[in-house]
């Protein structure tokens, strides 16, 4: 009996091996033939409700299943028509009128109306909803008051359906980036009847986003959702611009292990990887017709300085620490030259805005500043602790910084790594001296980086507070009449910020992907914004090369 089981098992195992050897065509080759993109999406999405989710993997799927009033063009990032076929902005910049495309349909065939937006924004801003991205709609008049419970009547919020095809939005201040925000999922419309069928509008736990229930309005519809395995979407036959959608479908894979993701790519299981392990970059760079794509990304990697705690309460110490860092060398060695050294918070060329560069790598001046602050050649240095969240790449950087500070300034810095949530707690409680931080822009505008450092701002986390800085960002920039004037005000504010140095910028992020040569019209852009509508797969990519 036992022998029999053993024999059966051996036969079963070996037949499996044989079976596997027989499968010739890779998933990518099959996908190219069938017009199905196999996409490494980082992690399993939390969900697909546009007013609940918060992450990047969610963003990729939600923006394929739903479409905003406007859509970012993936080449230029300029807004182009989505559900709205056009929009007018009043002379004072405060009233925006969206004209909906009469062909815009929900995936169940119903026409989309301006009332869908009024109802959806009511939901997105409802305090009971707990929508973490409700602030995307704060430029709308009274939206913030409603979202924070200070205003009860939604009728006072600046959004109105003039008729079924016309949506009028009233803003508190002219907000040049507001049109861009219409491509953020928290401003998307959701299908009221579907939601109400499965629960209360503000209920986070309903099942309306399940495959059999969901109604969207995007270029694709949800076909299959296998938890932690894959999410499959297929081209929608109700989408207004369906003639221009080239892919037949996309399969999203949760690939949180980046080494596995890279192996999947190499084995022909993926067209696209969310990222690439740092140590693999030199290997891919050396290849001819490399699949490796590196491009600037709207994000900054920096360190928070707690300016309430000595010795960092002295601006000279903060400047000395920052100047003693050789960012070029750090980037060249530790980071394999992947990123761009940063000397300020806003990434360069943020819609034409360039941040000021007030300092560079200057050991002499750093030593002088430290001596002026009372620590000549590191004497009397009280010690400093640098907190970062546990990660191999962060560790490599902090170790390099520790060494640079020791060599340049003769000071000791203790490194302390913390598990992610513990680290978030420490930063939130201001329970640190120096802490690692990254900020990724929600929209392409310097304001999104500079308003981090307003007095008491939720993401300030440094203790920095300058009323004049607040005045520049909150009052003067919104009232600027043109882009030059507005950017000049931003530059003044950013100069002030970097003189005070409550943060040490390290580098501007870049996005790093492996993209199969058959993938066409998936351009790199500053927001790593994916618009699957344009993407297509070239079956004959080999002859094209």
């Amino acid at each position: 009996m036992r022998i029999l089981i053993l024999k059966a098992a051996v036969i079963a195992l070996s037949s499996l091996v044989l079976l596997a050897c027989g499968s010739g065509e890779s998933r990518v080759a099959q996908g190219n033939r069938e017009g199905i993109l196999h996409y490494g999406n980082g992690t399993e999405p939390q969900g697909l409700d546009p007013h609940v989710v918060t992450g990047i993997p969610e963003n990729h799927i939600v923006r394929a299943l739903f479409e905003g009033l406007t859509v970012k063009n993936p080449w230029t990032l300029e807004p182009e028509p989505g559900v709205a076929q056009s929009w007018d902005i009043s002379e004072d910049g405060r009233i925006i009128t969206f004209h909906l495309n009469p062909e815009a349909r929900w995936s169940n065939g119903e026409a989309m109306t301006a009332r869908d937006y009024v109802w959806s924004w009511h939901r997105a801003l409802n305090p009971a909803m707990g929508n973490q991205y409700a602030y995307m709609l704060y430029p709308v008049k009274n939206a913030e008051a409603f979202a924070t419970g200070k205003l009860q009547d939604f009728a006072d919020v600046g959004v109105k359906a003039l008729d079924s095809q016309t949506l009028q939005v009233t803003l508190t201040e002219p907000t040049p980036y507001f049109i861009q925000l219409m491509d953020h999922y928290s401003t998307f419309a959701v299908h009221r009847a579907t939601l109400e069928k499965f629960g209360k509008a503000t209920d986070r736990f309903t099942q309306w986003t399940r495959v059999e229930n969901i109604v969207g309005n995007g270029a694709f519809r949800l076909k299959e959702w296998k938890l932690n395995r894959r999410i499959t979407i297929a081209k929608s036959d109700t989408y207004w611009d369906r003639e221009n959608v080239k892919l037949n479908g996309v399969v999203f894979y949760p690939t949180e292990n980046i080494s596995s993701e890279e192996r999947m790519f190499r084995a022909g299981q993926l067209h696209y990887t969310q990222t690439i392990p740092l140590d693999k970059i030199p290997v891919y760079r050396a290849q001819k017709n490399s699949a490796y794509v590196n491009s600037p990304y709207l994000g900054t990697y920096y360190y928070l300085l707690n300016i309430n705690k000595p010795p960092l309460d002295d601006v000279r110490v903060r400047q000395a620490l920052s100047m003693a860092i050789d960012r070029e060398k750090l980037n060249r060695t530790v980071l394999h030259g992947v990123n761009v050294p940063a000397y300020s918070i806003t990434p360069p060329d943020t819609l034409g805005y360039y941040p000021p560069k007030l300092f560079g790598h200057d050991v002499e001046q750093a030593r002088q500043l430290l001596a002026d602050a009372g620590f000549p050649d590191g004497q009397g240095w009280p010690g400093l602790e640098l907190t970062y969240n546990t990660s191999e790449s962060h560790r490599k950087i902090v170790v390099a910084l520790q060494q640079m500070w020791k060599e340049a300034l003769n000071i000791d810095v203790v490194l302390s790594n913390q598990e992610w949530k513990v680290y978030l707690d420490s930063v939130d409680e201001m329970n640190f001296q120096i802490a690692r931080r990254g900020w990724i822009g929600d929209y392409v505008d310097a304001n999104n980086f500079l308003d981090l450092f307003l007095c008491g701002g939720g993401n300030n986390n440094t203790g920095f507070c300058d009323p004049y800085y607040d005045e520049l960002i909150m009052r003067r920039a919104p009232q600027a009449t043109n882009r030059e004037e507005r950017y000049a005000i931003f530059r003044e504010a950013e100069t002030l910020l970097m003189q005070q140095m409550p943060i040490i910028p390290i580098y501007t992020y870049t996005s790093n992907h492996l993209i199969h040569p058959s993938v066409q019209d998936m351009p790199s852009n500053l927001m790593d914004s994916l618009n699957l509508k344009y993407v297509w797969l070239d079956e004959n990519w080999e002859s094209a090369q």
Partner: protein
């Protein structure tokens, strides 16, 4: 026998209750909460979220409510995946992990059992040392090393097997099963060698040989049953260990199992998910231990006799 089982089941209740209590208060004592993220959450939003998950109530009240739900088999909504209940997530992950565990155990028994028996037949010779050294390497080699190594050789260089997935591409279950099973194969090899050595020196083996039976029949017919008792006793905890410890293999091969949920839940501070999986897995461990004790008793005539006397 029934009294023994009933007694053991009663014993399990306080054990599981203790696990629930300790886990419940430990996860809440850990710094950082489920709604902390890199972007600041405004107080109104945080309050709304906490209210939706009952976190605004006093801790003891939350505990009582949790026990009440648990008594009805409800593990609560997940924090990380709104719209999914912990029951649903476990139901999605468990069959995959159990299947993986089963194949891994099969691999472990076949490789480990054969190696152990071969080694035991000629103790302290090359036939003993070679399989046992390999077994030792198996124990020492962590799966996060063995997995990628197997993938590189069989998945990428030889291109025989898929590098990841579960049930998507034919053959994608082989490498994970071998990776997960190899550590246990090594343990089983050592256990079966020790068990066989002990049995082979028993009188009844000498009797079997004296009857003139060929050596292979002595081994398969008479020695194996007794020699593998330690292995059987190990299988229960091993299977429970495979279920709760498959996280690394599941991550390497992108397998949608329970292990991935379990570990991610801890990182996400997904309170209900941490509790749900812990309670569920600890119950399984208790049950499997009991099961393997029963099986060992059934295989061992002496223990069986003891039960009969009771």
């Amino acid at each position: 026998m029934w009294r023994f089982i009933g007694y053991r089941l009663l014993q399990a209740i306080p054990v599981i209750l203790a696990v629930i209590t300790v886990t419940f208060f430990l996860v809440r004592a850990a710094p950082g909460g489920p709604f902390d993220s890199e972007k600041a959450v405004i107080p109104e939003v945080r309050a709304a979220l906490e209210a939706q998950y009952r976190l605004d109530q006093p801790l003891l009240q939350q505990y009582a409510a949790y026990l009440g739900d648990l008594a009805q088999g409800e593990l609560g909504p997940s924090f990380k995946y709104p719209g999914r209940s912990v029951n649903e997530l476990i139901a999605a992950g468990l069959p995959v992990t159990a299947e993986l565990g089963f194949y891994a155990l099969l691999v472990a028994i076949i490789i480990g059992g054969v190696a152990g028996v071969i080694a035991s037949l000629k103790p302290n010779t090359a036939q003993d040392y070679i399989p046992m050294s390999v077994a030792m390497i198996g124990i020492c080699m962590p799966s996060f090393l063995l997995g990628p190594l197997l993938v590189l050789v069989f998945g990428i260089y030889l291109d025989w097997l898929p590098v990841s997935g579960w049930g998507d591409i034919p053959g994608d279950k082989i490498l994970p099963a071998i990776t997960l099973g190899s550590t246990y194969a090594a343990y089983i090899a050592r256990l079966s060698r020790a068990g066989m050595l002990e049995v082979m020196s028993q009188d009844y083996i000498r009797t079997a040989r004296a009857k003139g039976l060929p050596e292979w029949q002595v081994v398969t017919r008479h020695a194996l049953r007794g020699g593998l008792i330690p292995v059987v006793a190990f299988l229960g905890p091993a299977f429970a260990g495979l279920l709760s410890g498959s996280f690394v293999v599941e991550t390497i091969f992108q397998i949608p199992g329970l292990g991935r949920f379990y570990v991610q839940a801890a990182f996400n501070r997904d309170y209900t998910m941490i509790l749900g999986t812990t309670v569920f897995l600890s119950t399984l461990i208790v049950l499997f231990n009991l099961l393997s004790d029963i099986l060992a008793a059934w295989m061992n005539p002496r223990l069986r006799a003891q039960f009969r006397e009771q």
